[in-house]
Amino acid sequence: MKFETLKPILACALLSSFLVACSSTPQDSSTSTGANSGSTTLSGNDVSTGSVDDGSLSGSDIDTDGGIETVFYFDFDQSILKPESLAALRIHAQRLIANPVSVRLEGHADERGTREYNMALGERRGSSVREFLVLQGVDASLLEVISYGEERPASLDSTDSSWALNRRVEIK
């Protein structure tokens, strides 16, 4: 829960040291959680909290996943893993094989369509991630898929960019 909204921001923060702009910054209302993590030198006004430790970009305090992406996005009405998700998922698989701990795969949908159907869609997305990890050799009993449907959006706006952030699976 703690990192769900922060992850894209962190990614943006890291990227923004190389790129000129980071277009899909979430609304500030969704960034107020987890204020004590990911202290970076973000200059944008989207993130109001977060102090600078040594003035260096480190993004170090994501201990649970060691800096690997934990949120995986999906296309509209789709539960197929995107190619860009696979590298990070393989790392998750290797870690779960080396260090078997139970994890939750929380599936989410955007707000379009009906709520219970979106619950099913969120579960399908979670199951896609689960199947991929199992294929990599992870013990299936470690992985529980829990769908939140459209009930826990990462971004609250009714826009394409919000919806893209909401169609996701979070590994926790």
Partner: protein, 427 residues
Amino acid sequence: MLVRMYKLVFLFLLMPLSAMAELSIEITSGVDNPTSIAISPIMMKGGPLAEDISAIVGADLDRSGLFAAMPRANMLSNPRALSEVYYRDWRIVGMQYLVVGSVIRQSDGRLSATFSLVEVAGERALFTHVVKGRDSELRDIAHYISDKVFYTITGIKGAFSTRLAYVTAINEGGRQVFRLMVSDADGARERLMLKSKEPIMSPAWSPDAKELAYVSFETGRPAIFRQRLDNAKREQLTNFKGLNGAPAWSPDGKSMALVLSKDGNPEIYLYRFATKVFTRLTRHFSIDTEPNWMSDGKSLIFTSDRGGSPQVYKLNIVSRKVERLTFNGSYNARPRLAADDRTLVMVHRSQGIFHIASQDLVTGDLRILTQTRLDESPTVAPNGAMLMYATKRGNKGVLAAVSIDAGSRFLLPSRRGDVREPAWSPF
């Protein structure tokens, strides 16, 4: 006032929370030639009443879209009984009907309201009736009068005494807080049923309107609960891995259709309260969800994407025969039936916009009923005259209603937060 009964979850008895009343009514359009009716002020001899009965009746009839209630300020006289009615006063202002009445306090302390419906052109009373209740039931008395007047004039049973259940999501301290609420059909007398920091979904009424089933995530995963309205007593019905959702009480109240994915993907199950046995009804690798009962209790309608896109199907519980009902468009979901079992209402996507549509199951005619976007969760009033649904206004979730003929509409805007998933109670 607040009883802590469950970790993070607060249960309330049916206790009025007037300070929280979040819904108000905003009529957006009515029929072209509504029936004109005047509700003469219904007062108590020898003392004020806590509620304005005539105003509630007028608002009820206005909200139906079929009536236009006369503003009190325009009335030429305020008769309280048939003997005080001067027909001329109502004829010259074009009133078709007039309601007169008065309230007295009986020796046992209860209130007794006598009221008459008058047909102005015929200069005759259509009925005179008396209804009794406690001081706390003044709104019930008013809705009772509305039901009686509505039925006498339209021949349609009034649904003004029914209730709504719905879910609110309000941002409190950076976190969404979810509440399951019950109110009168006009949005008044809102009561809290359940409050949780985890999502609450899919409220469904028992056929006797005494209980609600719903999905709550309070245990960390979705689970189906049933809860009584009168004493807040509740029971967790399911605790399976995966989906536990879309509860729908059978018409006889003895079982529930619901969705579980414990066997791999979402399937519809029948749960019998007496035996506590779950019987799997669908068997398909696609999504099967959102069951709802036909009134005979022998068939379910549900959403499935077995044909490649979400469509509405009908399932015979005995033969397990499945029949597709919708063919128009690439998204038809969350079906509900009007009490006649003939009018299907559902979420229908048209040109990328999610509307509420109705489909006549005999003729197959599809009709888009709503003009808003991101519409969902249609629920039909038990008299079949109106349906309520959830939509977005700006970025806020609100409830809206439309008559089944799409002739009249109203909104129930909330003062704060999102309101969603309305469920209209049975009679």
